[in-house]
């Protein structure tokens, strides 16, 4: 992928994770899924997003140091923080559909 688009992958992962979490919760509630199933599905999604972002950051550490690479790394880092912050709610907030 071309560098300027590549640098947007981090925020795109955050966006996809956010959207999928919200959609999964809405669909799960509409279909009456048990709260534990909901919580575990959301946790799995979050773990996947964090792993992907973590791998990108690990690989990026060895890549070129031009402007696009630096911006890409910074965006990956902010996306990681945002996903982690959202994921922190999962064990703390009831997964009840109300």
């Amino acid at each position: 992928m071309k560098p300027p688009l590549n640098m947007l992958i981090g925020p795109a992962i955050w966006g996809a994770h956010f959207l999928l979490c919200y959609a999964l919760l809405s669909v799960g509630c509409a279909l009456g899924w048990p709260s534990n199933a909901l919580r575990w599905s959301l946790g799995a999604l979050t773990a996947l997003a964090l792993t992907w972002l973590g791998c990108r950051l690990a690989v990026a550490g060895r890549s070129a140091n031009d402007f696009h690479a630096r911006v890409g790394r910074g965006l990956d880092l902010l996306a990681l923080i945002a996903v982690l912050w959202l994921g922190a709610a999962l064990p703390l907030v009831p997964a009840a559909c109300r």
Binding site: P4, W14, L25, F67, R70, I81, R98
Partner: protein
């Protein structure tokens, strides 16, 4: 050039100049259009401010009867609507329209007529909104227009219609500006201006343009659906028939929260441009600012439900939005800290723009802190709909937008007018505004915490609310006098201001590499850039450009020429000829307004006529292409193709970006479908209509039309059959519309339930695309009949729209019809 470029500049002035007198209304030059936006925005700001003053007088003392509750409802509705839709967004767009081409080394925006059209749509939208006030039908449902309050049952008068149609016109204007700003920033930067060397304001505006393209369409769709409910009883928001009023809140805030950042980011972008100049040192951590702007753009789309904490959504869903609302403080904080870090080692003079920068830092940071407070669900439940939230949003919006705007106005005034404002009036204006603002809104936090509700026209004595409200009213008068001093200074400086020297702030960017006020062509020759601070690196650059030492130093055949470059490497790739002054943007905007007025008056023939004129003018724009040779010399030994012979002409970029907004509407329709499915136990409310032979045949015709167009694109240029195959593809689109409409009319009524209404809305959307395809085919056939060698360039743009429309048609129709049978 032996005459120092004088003859070149005189010729360029003749070619690029605006017509005199009343014919100046036909000007399409970006400087003229940008100034129009700014002046009109300031006028609406003054009107919105007066409305606020009336509210403050009413609230000065308990039990006041200065105005009644209905008038108060109309006042807060108009105040919010004016400030958000008619002041904040358009004035910042105006600044961007004026500044961006100058900052990136271009002579104009890529689509000057589109920019002019956008301005007229904005003006007519604002006038339409206030026309309701003049005939005693002011909207009074709040700036957010929540149904059912604004639906046909509880708001039977035309006030809500004035709002919906006027605001939609203003939204169209924003989208047009976003399309041309994004395409210009991506493809018309000066040679050598790579992404890493782009002026920081261009980065801000690029991100904001994408945010507008994704954020504004949901509200356009929501408004159209509400207007359809009001005009034709299509029950999108009526829960008795499967609709849901909360769908409006989702669509509104999907727009509404990104809009806060759409307002904030350009304003901070202007500060990030002027603060380094005032500090006379580069912006600290340029790369981190770019990171923060992009991150803010993304995160701002994950905040919309924090306006809906009190609507009974699941706790976990609320926590997702609370997390995103807090996370966005990180990139926002980065932007504030980089400004502080830029100023920290410098000793900037306390000029008027600098005062407003300090005002921004103080006020906006306070607003940001209360923003984190209301992002917390339990706190928000306590403060919801109280004056605490009013105080918070004014700290964010006035701190994050008005203070930077005034800093920018004072900074770029010499650019707009060639004259310097009064320093004394500037200081007086700032201090009155700063003190008055804090007196008004700091106290308002307390009033909110004491229980003062929003949108209530009076309060009882002895609740502890008397003195905070009185102080707020006094503060608002002080603030208004400050704003009046600023506006007076702006007016007086036009006549009394001293002439500005060139580059009075010793700035680094290309916008100052020109005489003041700037000539209509901006640059006599297009600069080549090899640094982020071209004027600091080459102080004589302005003279070189004026002499014609750089690219495109010519004035040939009365053509308005731009240099287009590769979006990433900024290598020159084509010469673009943009259209000159024209009445067609005004005519097209009048026709667009006629569509809205026709709906308002239930005179649908007028709407149809307006649509016909819009399509005709658009086709004429597309079909009337300048006759150009394949290649031309661009200077410095460079030979480039003209845009009419390039496979990625500007029209392709404009279409691609417009389709992003288009796709957001399509996605919002899908969102509406699935939203109804999640909130209704039985969805669709009645069994879905049976499909017969007509529907598969209609969809097959749609797919076949795309196939035929693809075949046309692959025809060798020597073949003459493009017109015939284009006609065939257009005929297949007509078959698709005819069969689809036949089936729909026989199968489901638009007012039966929300499912039927949604099917009709999707059909209307697809029908508009079919109309677009047929119109583009007609324009392309007309253009190719004159010049066959441009086929690749013409069909690249037509094909992009056509194939996208086919894919969207299949996706929307497939989902709406197949999902009820699967679920």
């Amino acid at each position: 050039m032996s005459d120092g470029g004088e003859r070149l500049r005189a010729e360029l002035t003749r070619i690029w100049g605006n017509p005199p007198g009343w014919r100046a209304l036909a000007a399409v030059n970006h400087s003229a259009v940008g100034r129009r936006f700014v002046v009109t925005g300031l006028a609406f700001f003054a009107v919105g401010g007066l409305l606020a003053m009336l509210m403050r007088v009413q609230l000065a003392v308990p039990g006041n009867d200065f105005i009644d509750q209905d008038t108060y409802n109309a006042l807060f509705t108009l105040h919010g609507t004016t400030m958000m839709f008619l002041f904040a967004v358009p004035i910042l767009e105006g600044f961007a329209v004026y500044l961006v081409p100058k900052l990136i080394g271009a002579r104009d925006l890529l689509f000057p007529r589109l920019g002019a059209y956008g301005y007229w749509c904005y003006l007519f939208g604002g006038l339409l909104l206030y026309a309701g006030v003049l005939i005693g039908a002011a909207p009074d449902g709040g700036w957010f227009m929540y149904p059912p309050l604004t639906g046909p049952r509880y708001s039977p008068g035309p006030g809500a219609d004035f709002w919906l149609l006027g605001v939609t016109l203003a939204e169209v204007s924003a989208v047009t500006a976003a399309v041309e700003l994004a395409s210009t920033i991506l493809t018309a930067r000066a040679p050598g201006m790579t992404l890493a060397r782009m002026p920081i304001f261009a980065w801000y505006m690029l991100v904001v343009a994408f945010m507008i393209l994704i954020g504004f369409p949901p509200l356009i769709l929501g408004s159209v659906l509400l207007e359809l409910e009001r005009a034709f009883a299509m029950p999108f928001y009526d829960p008795r028939l499967g609709g849901d009023p909360l769908l409006w809140q989702h669509l509104f805030w999907l727009f509404g929260h990104p809009e806060v950042y759409i307002i904030f980011l350009p304003a901070v972008g202007m500060l990030a441009t002027l603060v380094p100049v005032l500090a006379q040192r580069p912006l600290a951590s340029y790369a981190w600012v770019v990171i923060a702007v992009i991150a803010t753009g993304f995160l701002s789309f994950g905040l919309w439900v924090h306006h809906m904490y009190a609507t009974g959504l699941p706790y976990l869903a609320l926590s997702f939005f609370a997390a995103a609302s807090m996370a966005v403080a990180v990139p926002t904080g980065i932007q504030v800290f980089t400004l502080i870090a830029t100023l920290w080692p410098a000793r900037p003079r306390l000029s008027v723009p600098m005062l407003y920068v300090f005002g921004f830092l103080f006020v906006f940071v306070l607003g940001g802190l209360t923003g984190v407070m209301v992002a917390l669900v339990p706190f928000d439940w306590q403060a919801h709909d109280s004056h605490f939230v009013v105080a918070h949003l004014h700290y964010v919006l006035i701190g994050g937008m008005v203070f930077p705007l005034f800093a920018a106005l004072y900074f770029w005034l010499p650019h707009f007018s060639g004259r310097l404002p009064s320093r004394r009036l500037g200081y007086i204006g700032f201090w009155l505004l700063f003190v008055g603002f804090n007196l008004t809104f700091l106290v308002m936090h307390l009033a909110g915490l004491l229980g003062m509700p929003r949108r209530v026209y009076t309060y009882s004595a002895n609740l502890g609310l008397d003195w905070p409200n009185l102080l707020s009213t006094v503060g608002s008068f002080v603030m208004s006098i400050g704003v009046a001093a600023v506006l007076l200074d702006l007016l007086l400086h036009l006549r009394l201001g001293r002439r500005s020297p060139p580059n009075p702030w010793r700035a680094d960017s290309l916008d100052w590499a020109m005489p003041l006020p700037p000539p209509p062509y901006n640059f006599a020759s297009i600069p080549a850039v090899d640094d982020r601070h071209p004027l600091w690196r080459s102080p004589a650059l302005a003279q070189e450009l004026a002499r014609g030492d750089h690219y495109l130093a010519r004035a040939e055949a009365d053509r308005r020429e731009l240099l287009a470059t590769d979006p990433i490497t900024a290598r020159p790739i084509q010469v673009v000829v943009v259209p000159g002054n024209s009445w067609s943007p005004l005519i097209m905007a009048l026709a667009t307004a006629a569509i809205a007025v026709g709906v308002l008056l239930a005179q649908y023939w007028l709407s149809a006529l307006g649509l016909l004129v819009v399509i005709t003018v658009a086709c004429a724009w597309a079909a009337r292409r300048p006759r150009l040779p394949a290649r031309t010399a661009a200077g410095h030994g460079l030979t480039l193709p003209f845009h009419t012979h390039h496979p990625r002409p500007p029209g392709w970029w404009g279409t691609a970006l417009s389709l992003l907004a288009d796709a957001t509407i399509g996605a919002s329709l899908l969102f509406a479908y699935f939203y109804y499915w999640t909130v209704n136990a039985d969805w669709p409310p009645q069994p879905p209509p049976a499909t017969d032979w007509r529907l598969p045949l209609a969809l097959a015709a749609l797919a076949a039309s795309s196939g035929l167009l693809m075949a046309t694109q692959r025809l060798p240029e020597a073949r003459r059959s493009a017109g015939a195959t284009l006609s065939g593809a257009a005929a297949l689109q007509a078959v698709f519309v005819g069969l689809g409409l036949w089936w729909l009319t026989a199968s489901v009524a638009p007012d039966a339930d929300a499912y039927g209404a949604l099917l009709w809305a999707i059909a209307g959307w697809l029908g508009l695309h079919a109309l677009g395809c047929v119109s583009m085919a007609a324009a392309a056939a007309a253009a190719l009949a004159r010049e066959r060698s441009e086929r690749r360039s013409v069909l690249a743009t037509v094909g992009l729209f056509w194939h996208y429309s086919t894919l969207q048609g299949l996706a929307l129709a497939g989902t709406a019809l197949a999902f009820p049978r699967l679920a």
